[in-house]
């Protein structure tokens, strides 16, 4: 049994962590957040230079040919730093083409997605909490007409992988569609409503199981982001409790607060194993992968949202302010919780997948 990260994985994480420590400090994140920038382009370029978007793209197309666990641990780090990057949509777009594209499509798009020269995203949601493939009503075909909602960074993307009735299609920048930016709660990951007006689309040829795997991949990445954010928030709250003095002593010496923090850590830390397993199952345990992904998404995002509320409470007034970091994580938690469908939805799916 080796349920741990390899030395190579740890080394890869270290280099990305160094970059984030250097270029994605809280001041920088606040600046992006406050200005409502689309994302931190400089940081994204550096992440691309390190191969973050290339992780799951096959080596034949300029990628690193690694696995979901490798992608997920990077997602965790980006969650830990609340990194304002278009990682989620981009990684899923690349994975979609790698899974469901034909040779020509892969050759055409994957190398540029791996290098970050092109920015990709996925357009799945259709509003009214309709997220999953069997709910996609946007008509398939070589020209798309209709609306997709809550699409990450659609306005900046060079290509959109669109979920359509019974399949997937790629729409490139310049086709007939318009983007309206949502006044989004999580300004580290802006969302657009995309309206297609007969947009030229190139169908991909996914097997049904490919589409399932994409949904699972998204669930795993959201869970990883949630764990990273929740863990960082817990650490930050503990650090604050060790520093803040009231009644002549650090508040972290009061048992009431210690127990709150212990409960918070108790909810958060074990999620690591859950999301690791979901990522590992995606790679290596096919019969458990769907269930594990649904459960990881449901549980980790639920705990993250609660942990972010607990963090505000433990910080007191400062935690409720705009200038503090806490609300940025709080809002990332809201994103992770909602995007792809709320936790109970995935619990019900899990129950069905388990054969209950």
């Amino acid at each position: 049994m080796n349920f741990l990260l390899s030395d190579d994985q740890l080394a890869f994480l270290d280099t990305i962590r160094d970059l984030l420590t250097d270029r994605c400090d809280p001041l920088r994140v606040h600046a992006v957040f406050d200005r409502g920038e689309s994302f931190d382009a400089e940081l994204w370029a550096q992440l691309c230079g390190m191969g973050a978007p290339a992780i799951m793209i096959p080596e034949a197309y300029g990628g690193l040919g690694l696995q979901m666990i490798d992608l997920a641990i990077v997602a965790e780090l980006l969650g830990e730093f609340a990194a304002p990057t278009p990682f989620l949509g981009h990684a899923l777009a690349g994975l979609t083409i790698a899974l469901a594209g034909d040779e020509a499509q892969k050759a055409r798009w994957l190398p540029a997605l791996a290098s970050g020269e092109l920015l990709g995203t996925v357009a799945w949601g259709e509003g009214d909490s309709r997220w999953l493939p069997d709910e996609w009503r946007l008509g398939a075909g070589s020209a798309l007409t209709g609306v997709k909602q809550l699409v990450p960074n659609a306005a900046e993307a060079d290509l959109l992988v669109v979920g359509v009735e019974g399949g997937l299609a790629v729409v490139e920048k310049g086709a007939a569609f318009t983007c309206t930016r949502l006044d989004g709660v999580d300004r580290t990951r802006p969302l657009d409503t995309v309206t297609f007006h007969g947009a030229v689309a190139e169908p991909l040829g996914p097997r049904p199981e490919d589409i399932d795997r994409l949904i699972d991949a998204a669930a795993v990445l959201l869970a990883a982001d949630a764990f990273g954010g929740a863990h960082r928030l817990t650490e930050a709250t503990v650090e604050y409790a060790k520093m803040r003095v009231q009644f002549g002593q650090t508040v972290g010496s009061f048992q009431g607060l210690k127990h709150q923090l212990a409960n918070m850590a108790l909810a958060v830390e074990p999620m690591r194993g859950l999301y690791w397993f979901a990522a590992h199952a995606w790679d290596a345990v096919p019969d458990k992968a769907r269930y594990a992904a649904a459960q990881a998404k449901a549980h980790c995002t639920d705990v993250y949202l609660q942990a972010s509320r607990d963090a505000v409470e433990a910080h007191g007034g400062i935690g409720f302010t705009w200038e503090h970091d806490t609300h940025i994580y709080f809002k990332r938690a809201m994103f992770d919780w909602t995007w792809l469908g709320q936790p109970n939805r995935h619990r019900l799916r899990a129950a069905t997948l388990a054969g209950w």
């Binding site: 049994m1 080796n2 990260l5 409790a241 002593q249 194993g273 397993f277 388990a354 209950w356």
Partner: protein, 395 residues
Amino acid sequence: MELGFGPEFDSFRAEVRGFLKAHWPPADGDVKSSANENAFVHAAIGEGYLHRNVPRRFGGSEQEPDIVRAEIIREEFRRARAPSGRIPVTGKLVVPTLLDCGTEEQCAQLIPKTLTGEIRWAQGFSEPNAGSDLASLRTRAELVGDEWVINGQKIWSTGAHLATHIFLLVRTEPDAPRHEGISYLLVDLRQPGVTIRPLTQMTRQKEFCEVFFDDARTPAGMLVGERGKGWYVTRSTLKHERSGIGGLTWPLSMFRDLLQLARSIERDGRPAIEDPAIRIELAAIDAELQSLTYSTYRATSHDVHAREVGWFQTMSKLYSTNLAQRISKLGRDIIGDQFLDMSGPNLKMIERFMISLSMSIAGGTSNIQRNLIAERSLGLPRDQHFESASKATPR
């Protein structure tokens, strides 16, 4: 990353299976015979499969510590329904303590008989006025000639009414600071100075006992470790309470029972398991169960590779406790009105609803666990009043 045991362990697993195939069930097919069981356990010890941490001269099989091999043995023995030479948990606590801190004579006299079940142990730590604050204990022992004379009362001694011996914390140095005045004694319970009274618990069962000592005696040589250093000896006992992968068996089987219950009980003419509210809660429970499972696998893997486990180190007990209580509450929801009927078919669920509560008390209360998580994992300041055995450093 891999979750199996890796190819290097395949041959070990095959070896264990080969042994089991040859030895269990026994040739005459009588799996209930204690002679057969003893012969099997003896053979398994000979192969190095059971009592691995105990030296051969004390009746064990003296193997290098190896969590992975131990787990393979546990799995294969369970699969073959073979006897595991299991001794009660109190015995599991005292044996490593003796090995760490006992004399050669104590080990030779007590460990072999503990492994065969001839000696059965009770734990005598808590007292009516020394619960979480164990160091305030008042049962005393005086050395008179070559015997310790013991007076006082212990409580919550699991299975003391079925035990032959007890390991005790007693105050031997009344003038010393409270942690320094405690000694660790081994006492034969079968003597006139000992009175054992089982307590009936809320489930109607009797598992815990009060044990009264009224000039009870034990030889001077039954002191473990140095006089006045018993507090540090218990650290060794408590260290062995940490559960590994084996600790997952119980919550997993509780959850299986819960699923079975949800399938078999009907609500509004349909199986309870078809109710969306129940399905959501089942999934939420299983997510926590899987979190516990994979965090345990992760911790075990990290132990094996000498890597820091991190925060999870202090969390298993409280996480399992909360999980068991959540499971028992869903059981309550599913059985409906049968929740009031102790002679109905769902007595087990009613009992679990009660028993799961004892988990937040026994072996360190949940609030003490929160202190441990806050102080040891999160590094928050130590509570000035909270002096757990963990605070003491072994000498």
